[in-house]
Symmetry: C2
């Protein structure tokens, strides 16, 4: 086997585990925590809860609340100024992918200077970042586990992938109690995001024996628990989605993703859409495109999705993909691009696909995909 790397944060998982946030900050030398979140989490009361935990631990903090969905370049650059001006030493985020990616972007600029676009791509960060302690409020983005940071370049209207081992936070606190305050839509979108991570990571050209079992575990948990979690909101099933998201994140952070995420970044950057919206539209079509390159691995996914073995690899793989289509259709999500993009905007698909081929995620897709092939996929799912 060629050299493979596997890096994840220290994980603290469990109901009520937010209470350990103060100790975690102290263990990383915190005197003044830079706390990143958004108004939704504030309203749900979690920001106040976290502030109370920090105060009990005797830690100063400064709050940076201005996180928007799909964080933009100028926002993290402003945040870094604010971080430095206030002499902070540990960055803590409580929120979904947007809050955590904002925190990562701020950490990069505060310690390495320059503009965030200087770090686009893999391994461009030279100097160490301040310690990061993250508390995820969704079970999907994986930013709390991964070495990825996705920031929108406003001028080019594209989501940049910034990938570096130093973007793995020091500690990730996952408290399933927090999930119980999320909307149905967010639970579905997050779980489908995690499912897309797990599938693309499993098929990645650099998947390894350390990432593959994590992918399959995540697929299994999401297929068996998402419907039930949406219907009942039972803490047990939300907890299982949480575990699935962590497993999927361990996989994609170390194995990379594929063409579907490359497209999702470009489409999402252009039309300001979140991943969770794009995956049910694109994922199975990209799997059909990739099938010829990896029928055995696609069959492994099929076996987990179907929970049974069929005759041939091809048969299992194809039936698995169809089952995924049915699975997506069973939720209240869009299944075609025209449902989420205006008719007039179809003309933008070509430049979007030309952008997507250069996304770092496209490098690990099992079948090389040109922009013309990506465009064909987009047209099929229009």
């Amino acid at each position: 086997m060629e050299t493979t790397k596997f890096a994840i944060p220290e994980i603290i998982f469990g109901r009520g585990s937010i209470k350990y946030a103060g100790q975690c900050a102290l263990r990383n030398g915190a005197k003044k925590v830079f706390l990143v979140s958004d108004s939704g989490i504030e309203k749900a009361g979690w920001v106040q809860r976290l502030m109370d935990v920090l105060e009990t631990a005797g830690i100063n903090w400064i709050y940076y609340p201005s996180v928007t969905a799909n964080p933009r370049d100028f926002e993290v650059e402003q945040g870094a100024e604010f971080y430095l001006k206030n002499g902070c030493d540990v960055i803590m985020a409580i929120g979904g992918g947007s809050s955590m990616d904002t925190a990562k972007g701020i950490a990069i600029i505060a310690s390495n200077g320059g503009k965030i676009r200087d770090y686009e791509g893999a391994n461009r960060i030279q100097r160490p970042l301040p310690p990061m302690v993250f508390i995820t409020t969704t079970a999907g983005s994986g930013s709390d586990i991964s070495q990825f940071c996705i920031i929108t370049d406003v001028k080019r209207a594209v989501k940049m992938s910034i990938i570096s081992r130093t973007l793995v936070p020091n500690i990730s606190i996952v408290d399933p109690l927090i999930l119980s305050t999320k909307t149905e839509t967010l639970i579905i979108q997050s779980a489908i995001d995690a499912l897309a991570h797990a599938i693309e990571a499993y098929l990645s050209r650099i998947a390894s024996p350390f990432t593959e079992p994590q992918s399959l575990k995540a697929i299994d948990l999401i297929m068996r628990n998402l419907q039930h979690a949406v219907e009942t909101r039972s803490l047990d099933s939300l907890e299982k989605l949480s575990i699935a998201s962590i497993a999927a994140s361990m996989a994609f952070s170390n194995a990379g993703l594929g063409a579907e995420h490359a497209l999702a970044h470009s489409l999402g950057g252009h039309f300001d859409m979140s991943h969770g919206v794009v995956h049910p539209i694109l994922l199975t079509e990209v799997m059909r495109f990739n099938l010829e390159s990896c029928p055995a691995k696609m069959a492994d996914i099929g076996r987990v999705v179907l929970n049974k073995r069929l005759g041939s690899d091809e048969e299992t793989a194809m039936e698995g993909i169809e089952k995924l289509d049915e699975f997506f259709a069973s939720f209240d999500v869009s299944l075609k691009l025209h449902e989420v993009v205006k008719k007039n905007d179809k003309k933008h698909l070509e430049p979007i696909c030309k952008m997507a081929v250069n996304d770092a995620c496209n490098l690990t897709n099992p079948r090389p995909a040109s922009w013309q092939e990506l465009l064909k996929i987009c047209q099929k799912v229009w």
Copy 2:
């Protein structure tokens, strides 16, 4: 679920990956590396190879060669003096569990002072350790992944378990090429050590969804590959044992172990024996003792060992244990205590078992075990 923690080092895995040792030391701020190994690894040429790698990276090093099997308290205390006198800043070990545990012991004393016995048990280390980069030369001890350090207390003649998250090294380099220079005995003993880790961690009272899949993966890989690895020495099968050892270590480091390891520490400390010798004698008898407390989980192990499902959990569990007995018998290893302990020494079993009940590993055994029950187990396998 109650709060559970999962912490592992950054792992760099692959044939020839020893070449990254210099970069890894530099990333941890190395100016002068304290290099720990033993004469066996030296003779095999790996110490020189590592010194060459460090020199190419422009890093100074000082070599500490005096590692013996089952490292003793006074040795790590001497090592710490040597470390401090030489102004080192990163500890690197290349070797098996003994070299790595020596390095950990030195790291503890060099940064926290006192005597090594002050740190026996769980979470007794207060101050941060120097960065540690480990290169394992066996596929079993797991010290390269785990938060465990086992040092013999010479006066009490017992192996002390020292357990702390800070004992997880910063980086673990696993190069399967190094395994190809090991003896048959060492390959078998190491794999059986990893198998015992995987099984005890799976049954542990604090096993979690993060550790359980790693345990089952390790058991599967060892059952399917050890015989072939011994017969052919093929790099592919040695690599699989390596992956198994990493998976088992991720599991036991975070889930803990059980009564079998508690006994193995006390027996090993008293009679100066390595783990690999004790496991084939004790493991299945401890599993029989534990069976009533965890039939479903014991059946999961049975299904992996047998590679099939039987009627009931109890049937699958029992047949799995018998299959493990057969598996051990198929190698050239001792299966009874009297083969490795002198007849005269039988009288020491009682004090040994009284020591073992207090070993930290006994706390996570699925069925509470008194010293009398441990003694019964030892008598059964005499």
